[in-house]
């Protein structure tokens, strides 16, 4: 009677909707066919079929869901007609789902921590990184505890206190003692974390003048989409450079080194970064064009490369590549440097090899590295100088500026 009428109207709507979607589908099919014809009729002929197939599949799912909904509402209505106070209790249902979500979610979290947690970076290959990892673990433990407790409370409450017409909620507008507790306790915990973080951060970033002097000086310059590294050489100083000199000296001066500065002549150009273990190393970072980020995840090292401004990062490697290969049980393991700041189309492909070796191997490696300033550059520079002397003074300024 009444129920059947109600269902009929609804099903008519559903039917109309289905027809509408189907017609829509046909149109979609027609237009896709037209589009294909433009691109390449042979190659992509299967696409419209495929699209239609998936749309129909989706439609089928929708119909199934609509059917389930319909069945549920019929069940609900019959229950009501039979005189039951309420039909299907959606409040109870959602409460149970929340509880289920809690259980499955906690298991999923555990699963993620163990399975995916095993895939994260191995232990830090640098000294400061060990401190960072320790702090990370402390933070992780604290946050995980809070995460689990609050979620248990949230979903147990939603389950336990789901609606019942017999119950009445407990009128509790405020409780200042509780408020104080959960203001002060997080504040204390955060203070501890802040202090730990602050001192670690200062340790990493505040290096004494002596510390700076004793480190190996390496300069890394980023550009779209590669890295250039040079070592300070015998004097352990990276010579002066000027971006306006880039591309000069017959196209050989890729970094824009200023040959008037004698410190440049012993600088070494390298095709991979090789570091001696347990020896502090200081990176001076720069960029020729846009922002890049000097990121070596295994060393817990990251610093942006900014055009027009030098940035620094100093650290001490503590595990050689060979050590790390043993630790991660992978004979092919290698450290690397990558770019972490969006820098253009090939941002995802800015790899540079990094190797940590013993002091002995390092010394040996250093011997075979080529100087940054080669004879061709010096020749071109001297020719320039000679030309300059014959030319007017204004030209000179323009060149050396």
């Amino acid at each position: 009677m009444k129920i059947s009428k109600y269902i009929n109207i609804k099903s008519i709507f559903a039917f109309v909707a289905v027809i509408g979607l189907f017609v829509n589908n046909l149109f979609a099919q027609a237009t896709t066919v037209a589009a294909t014809a433009v691109v390449d009729p042979e190659k992509n002929a299967y696409i419209p079929k495929m699209v239609t197939y998936y749309l129909l599949l989706f439609l089928l799912v929708c119909i199934v869901i609509a059917l389930i909904g319909k069945i549920l509402s019929v069940y609900d209505l019959t229950k009501k007609v039979q005189g039951a106070k309420q039909g299907f209790s959606w409040d109870k249902f959602n409460g149970i789902l929340f509880l289920l979500f809690l259980v499955v979610g906690l298991y999923g979290t555990y699963w993620s921590y163990t399975i995916q947690g095993a895939q994260i970076l191995p232990e830090s290959a640098s000294e400061h990184g060990v401190k960072i990892d320790e702090m990370f673990n402390v933070t992780l433990i604290i946050t995980t505890i809070v995460f689990v407790i609050t979620h248990i409370l949230l979903f147990v409450f939603t389950y336990k206190y789901s609606y019942s017409s017999k119950k009445k909620a407990y009128f509790l507008p405020h409780n200042n003692t509780l408020e104080k507790y959960w203001t002060v306790i997080p504040a204390i915990v955060l203070t501890i974390l802040v202090l730990m973080g602050f001192f670690t951060w200062r340790d990493i970033t505040n290096i004494s003048q002596d510390g700076i002097k004793n480190a190996i000086h390496i300069e890394v310059t980023a550009h779209q989409f590669a890295w250039e590294a040079r070592y300070g050489g015998k004097d352990n100083v990276n010579g002066r450079k000027n971006y306006k000199l880039i591309g000069g000296l017959g196209g050989l001066n890729s970094l824009g080194v200023d040959l008037a500065d004698k410190n440049n002549y012993d600088d070494l150009t390298v095709s991979e970064i090789v570091l001696p273990v347990n020896k502090p190393v200081r990176f001076t970072l720069g960029s020729k064009d846009v922002l890049h980020s000097f990121y070596m995840p295994h060393f817990r090292v990251q610093m942006n490369c900014v055009p027009g401004m030098a940035t620094y990062f100093q650290f001490t490697p503590r595990l050689t590549t060979a050590d790390m290969r043993d630790k991660v049980n992978d004979p092919n393991f290698n450290y690397f440097l990558l770019c972490a700041k969006i820098c253009g189309g090939s941002h995802f492909n800015m790899k540079f090899a990094v190797r940590v070796v013993s002091q002995k191997e390092y010394d040996k490696w250093l011997l075979v590295q080529k100087p940054l300033v080669n004879t061709a550059m010096i020749k071109a520079y001297q020719e320039n100088l000679a030309n300059n002397e014959t030319n007017s003074a204004t030209n000179k300024i323009a060149l050396n500026n």
């Binding site: 696409i47 789902l97 970076l121 949230l154 119950k167 909620a169 997080p186 306006k244 817990r300």
Partner: protein, 628 residues
């Protein structure tokens, strides 16, 4: 607590607005250039939903690329043409997708779509005002937003493609058309669009603030405002103070791009040429951008928190726990949000000492956030929870807010940030805490106030389906990303194929992509429900959720001016649910204390001795024990 109470701001001048209903309305003035706040709210909502669907589709496109970096999808070439040659996304277009996805989601959906909709709808309705302080400016606000949206979407149809330097558009990448195709015309249009957007936001914000301060009905002092209004009010203040800085930054960038200035550019050698710009600093942009950018996070989040407070308390049939603490924590977040921006810049070359300072301020802001979370939990405790779809989404928000907030403790720590900066850990963090949480707040608001907006009910069961699929898929998408970040996988990578160590995440990427597709498909349930219910939904009753706030005292049929007669006077705070002694489980804000002698509590009188005396007399007469 009475220090902030302002009892003397009852403006009643708006009562004579009632005859506005007699204006002759054409289609144009009613639906297009409407000055009625309810219609403008709907315009914001529908535009916001549309933009949301667009941005979600973009995310599915780049998720497909991440899951199947080596496979070709001829369908993509058919749809996108030269942006997907041979059926594979172009790397530059991939970055465009990421950029526009972020821009649209943050600004167009979660700022305009969320604040624009609910501030417009609820501020006049919950405060008892006929309309906004300036309806005309309100209309302009929407149309600036609409134009901004159109310009932003139009960038997909230009030769060089949309802006592609990330939603933060860091120069020099965004300043140099030679650096990437997206930094050409696409970026110019992005900047124009954002200027219009900010203008829209400011007009909206000024309107919200002036309405809240000046147009409250009689009896509605600040401490009787619902938390939604507090949230919208503070959000608008944050917006007014921070958005102009973005405009300043954007204008300087326009100068750098088009007029040869050097605000952000220095010492650049690109495409075989040394540029003349010297002395600028890319870090300056970051300071200016994040001075907006970080408060922006709270502009996105606070309205969602306000909506959630309202929805949770209504559906728990319990007063919100710690109303004053909730307001103070919102105020705390508002103030602190302005001094934490540097935590986005720990490793950008900013002075490390500043890094330490920003770390301290950043972790302080976690305290008010924690207070809010615990107050939500305490509100649920011993409630009588009705699971309307709105309530489900509100609970979902609390869950996301906890999960995402906790990972913020890692990122706010400068030392930990060294290795997490610009990795997937960050992506996971902000997608949970501001992405998912804010969108859940928005959806919660839509389900809750749909009857108010359209006079119809949405289908609850479809709402349940929508919630569960979205909730589960959001966690499936973002939870694994944390671990990718901990493995040092940077964000905005077109493919993980170039690094051997990232290969192990390919299967996870496939899983994430399929979860994202599930989540996207689930939105069809919402869209269908939304559109169907507007036209064929069950007719709503006046107060479908048995709520105490003022908006439910207006008639279901909209009328210009909101209340047919005089605007009701407010006598009590908005959270008298399940009050002991009361026969009904909610007492509307417009019910005077004199009608509820059974349930009055001492604090209801706010120290008014006369009222206390009357209550005591009544209690003596009725042999009732004093509740004190």
């Amino acid at each position: 607590m009475a220090t902030l109470t302002l009892n003397d701001t009852h403006i009643t001048a708006q009562t004579d607005h009632a005859d506005h209903g007699h204006h002759k309305e054409t289609f144009l003035t009613k639906y297009i250039f409407s000055q009625d706040h309810k219609m403008i709210a709907k315009q914001f909502l529908i535009t916001g939903i549309f933009m949301g669907v667009v941005a979600m589709t973009l995310s599915i496109l780049f998720r497909i690329q991440l899951a199947y970096p080596d496979e070709s999808f001829p369908l993509l070439e058919m749809l996108l043409g030269k942006f997907a040659p041979e059926g594979r996304l172009d790397p530059n277009f991939y970055l465009s997708l990421v950029t526009i996805h972020g821009t649209i989601m943050v600004f167009f959906v979660l700022t305009a779509g969320l604040s624009g909709t609910f501030s417009n709808l609820l501020i006049p309705l919950q405060l008892g005002a006929r309309d906004m302080a300036s309806p005309f400016m309100n209309m302009l606000s929407y149309w600036f937003f609409a134009v901004a949206s159109a310009i932003m979407l139009a960038t997909f149809f230009i030769e060089t493609g949309p802006a592609s330097s990330g939603w933060t558009i860091y120069p020099p990448l965004s300043a140099l058309p030679k650096a990437m195709p997206g930094s050409g015309l696409g970026m110019t249009m992005w900047l124009i669009s954002m200027v219009l957007f900010v203008a829209s936001s400011l007009m909206g914000g000024i309107n919200y603030v002036s309405t809240v301060l000046n147009m409250r009905t009689k009896g509605m002092d600040l401490w009787k405002m619902p938390l939604t209004i507090w949230a919208f009010f503070l959000t608008a203040i944050v917006g007014i103070l921070s958005f102009p800085v973005l405009v300043a930054a954007v204008v300087l960038l326009i100068f750098d791009r088009s007029f040869g200035t050097s605000f952000y550019l220095s010492d650049i050698y690109i495409a075989g040429q040394a540029l003349p710009n010297e002395g600028g600093s890319p870090v300056l942009w970051q300071h200016l951008f994040w001075f907006l950018g970080h408060p922006e996070v709270y502009i996105v989040l606070m309205p969602a928190l306000g909506i959630t407070s309202e929805v949770i308390t209504t559906n728990s049939r319990k007063p919100i726990f710690g109303y004053h603490a909730m307001v103070y924590s919102l105020i705390g977040i508002t103030v602190l949000s302005f001094i934490v921006w540097g935590h986005h810049m720990f490793v950008t070359g900013m002075n490390p000492f500043l890094g330490g300072v920003f770390m301290i301020t950043t972790l302080i802001i976690a305290v008010p956030s924690a207070v809010k979370t615990f107050n939500y939990l305490a509100t649920l405790w011993r409630g009588n929870i009705k699971f309307t779809p709105a309530m489900l989404f509100a609970i979902g928000l609390v869950s996301f807010f906890i999960s995402g907030g906790l990972t913020g403790i890692f990122l706010g720590n400068a030392a930990l940030d060294i290795n997490l900066h610009d990795t997937y850990f960050v992506v996971a963090h902000f997608h949970l805490v501001m992405g998912s949480a804010a969108i859940f707040g928005m959806l919660s608001g839509i389900y809750h106030w749909f009857p108010k907006m359209f006079g119809k009910m949405m289908d609850a069961k479809l709402g349940y389906l929508h919630f569960w699929l979205t909730f589960i898929s959001a966690y499936l998408v973002f939870f694994p990303m944390h671990f990718m970040g901990l493995d040092g996988v940077p964000r905005r990578y077109y493919a993980f194929t170039e690094f051997e160590s990232m290969n192990e995440w390919l299967s996870v990427n496939k899983f994430i992509t399929w979860s994202a597709i599930l989540g996207a498909v689930a939105q069809v349930a919402f869209l269908y429900n939304f559109v169907y219910s507007i036209f064929f939904g069950k007719k709503s009753v006046q107060n479908p959720w048995d709520s105490t706030t003022l908006e439910w005292t207006t008639p279901v049929e909209h009328l210009h001016g909101n209340w047919p007669g005089e605007i009701p006077t407010v006598y009590r705070w908005p959270y008298d649910y399940s009050k002991p002694g009361s026969e009904v489980d909610f007492i509307s804000q417009i019910t005077p204390l004199s009608e509820t002698m059974n349930s009055n509590l001492p604090h209801d009188f706010e120290g008014n001795e006369e009222s206390e005396r009357i209550q005591m007399d009544w209690e003596k007469q009725n042999n009732k024990e004093t509740v004190k």
